[in-house]
């Protein structure tokens, strides 16, 4: 008894409390826990916006579509979700700060560095753009390139700068926008394909393309000057349109009045001639008397209206006043012939 007690160690103590029933219990509990864990880790769902890559011991064995799926438990099979249906995008030269209405954009000096670039005529231009893409090969997307986002950004920048560097700044600002973006898309796709990155570039869209900030006022000045030019020309044309029709009208008036004069002149001539001819015909019947009558009729008409009429006797120095219509004494100096 004493010996046995002496042999009693903590291990023996533990073992002494261990009976078959509790042993089974522990075993059962462990088994259930393991089974549950196995069950839980062998079921997974794939969200509708993508696909899942299933890897067994690190090797890809399947690509699963959205829905409920089973796999080997305990991380023997592991699934990796890739949003293949979603359109992903990268922004260059700006960031969308919030998508609340209205959408807010942010442009910090760092973003400025992304968007400022040299053009073919060695000027500087500020080009903002967006690259939209989709994952088309989730296997490649996960396993071929270390940092997909960084690679996409780096190559996008390099491609955009190459194309803008090979164009005139003024063209990129205006008519070559579409050409630049489609060229960038193709070139970017080609390079990423050579990397086997598993993405398809949807669009490369140029956003704001502007001159750099310090130069903007000068660009505006050009626009203003262009408008000034237009308005100067318009003004001059307006003046011309005002003056010329008026002058034409006046010219027509001048001609009309000349024609009026012509008609009048000829008509009067006709009239006078007709009258003269008539009188002449009568005159020829009795010339002396007609002559005298005409003369006297004239005197009748003229003489009463005259102011002073002086009748001069041949050889005399002083005139004889016949009529003196003003009553004042005639103090005029004698008129001489």
């Amino acid at each position: 008894m004493a010996r046995r007690r002496y042999e009693q160690s903590p291990m023996d103590e533990f073992l002494s409390q261990f009976d078959a029933r509790t042993g089974w219990l522990v075993l059962m509990v462990t088994a259930v826990v393991i089974a549950l864990a196995g069950l839980l880790t062998s079921v997974y769902t794939v969200q509708p916006e993508g696909q899942a890559i299933v890897k067994r011991f690190g090797k890809v064995i399947a690509i699963k579509e959205p829905g409920l799926h089973f796999k080997l438990p305990f991380r023997i099979d592991r699934q990796y979700f890739v949003p293949t249906a979603r359109v992903l995008k990268h922004e260059f030269g700006f960031r969308t700060a919030s998508t609340d209405e209205p959408t807010a954009y942010r442009k910090s000096p760092q973003h400025q560095d992304e968007s400022l670039m040299l053009t073919g005529d060695l000027k500087v231009i500020d080009v903002e753009w967006v690259v939209q893409y989709r994952v088309v090969d989730p296997d490649q997307y996960l396993h071929r390139v270390e940092d997909v986002d960084k690679t996409l950004r780096d190559i996008s920048e390099a491609v955009m700068r190459r194309i803008v560097g090979n164009s005139l700044g003024s063209d990129v600002l205006t008519e070559k926008r579409v050409q630049v973006s489609s060229q960038a898309r193709d070139e970017l796709q080609q390079i990423l394909d050579s990397f086997e990155m598993g993405v398809r570039i949807g669009t490369v869209e140029l956003q704001d393309v502007t001159p750099p900030d310090p130069v903007k006022p000068a660009f505006n000045e050009v626009n203003q000057a262009e408008q000034e030019k237009e308005s100067l020309i318009n003004e001059a044309e307006k003046r011309r349109n005002q003056v010329i029709p008026k002058a034409s009208g006046e010219a027509r008036k001048l001609i009309e009045s000349a024609q009026g004069y012509a008609a009048q002149r000829v008509n009067r001539a006709d009239g006078e001639v007709a009258r003269f001819s008539a009188i002449l015909q009568e005159y020829r019947n009795a010339p002396a008397v007609t002559r005298r009558r005409l003369y006297l009729e004239m005197i009748d008409e003229v003489l009463p209206r005259l102011g002073h009429v002086y009748v001069m006797e041949e050889g005399q120095t002083g005139p004889i006043p016949l009529l003196n219509l003003d009553r004042s004494p005639a103090a005029r100096p004698p008129a001489t012939r």
Binding site: D121, E146, R162, R240, A247, Y295
Partner: protein
Amino acid sequence: MRTGIENESPRRGRAAAVTIAAVVVAVVFALIGFASTYTIDEAEQAIIVQFGAPVGDPVVEPGLHFKIPFIQEVRRFDKRLLAWDGDPNQIPTRGEQFISVDTTARWRIVDPLTFLQSVRDQRGAQNRLNDILDSVVRDHIAATDLVEIVRSKDWEISEAALERAMAVEGEEEILMKEVTTGREELVRSVLTTAQKQMSQYGIELVDIRIKRVDYVESVQERVFDRMIAERQRIAEQFRSEGSGRAAEIEGETERLLAEIQSEAERDAEIIRGKADAEATRIYNESFGADPEFYSFFRTLESYPTALGKDVTVIISAQSDYFRYLREIGDFEVPLPAAGLSSDTDSRREP
């Protein structure tokens, strides 16, 4: 109770010992199992190292693999394309223009063993790449004109753009510069030069690109000034074109005005002249029948108009009208009994 335990303890102890032994054996087997297997991911490759010495070929196939437990260990390396991003460098071009060049490269580990031996890990590789790529890029940029760095081989300039550039001094020269290599060629050359040095590190350089080329700050300001000056010149040109065209229109207006007026005056004079001529012809035709009577008749007609009110007239007493004031006149005419009224009589007198 205590007695009961003591009585049963030998049996229970045996059972416990068996269970514990089983657990221990299981754990040991599990340990050996785990130590003798390893997994390689799709993105990984590995070398098996035994006491520091590499054993066998690199493992590139993903999946479950076996090794000798405890004495062999796995060194893993990335199999994917890796990024290298250099710091922006200020480099003078051949034209002595200082520019800031930012390059980016893609590389991968193709010979993990050499890689392990020469640079150990990715950080070591990045350092080597920094040294090599920076220097290669620097050499190339320094030997190239700025236009060659910015433009590509297929650079061409439209006639219209050239014409626009004529307005600004020096601009045409920049635009006309032929591109002999261009950015793509330059980059390709950088890539091949750098690639030659890569094999000793077990690295393949896949791609290198100039990400950004920018003017250094002081140059950038000068470029901005140049751009502003150019814009202002263009603005000035627009303005002077505007006033020039306006003046042209004004001149045209004045010419048209003068033409219209003078034509009208000419036509009016012609019309008047013709009418006058016509009238003269009519008068002449008629008055020519008896010029003497016409002269008499017309003169009499003009007296009332010519001699207006309050005109003082001195008339000779011998005049036809006043001679009767002095005398009765000759008597060729019959006696006053017949009277002046007798027109019929005097008509007979020639």
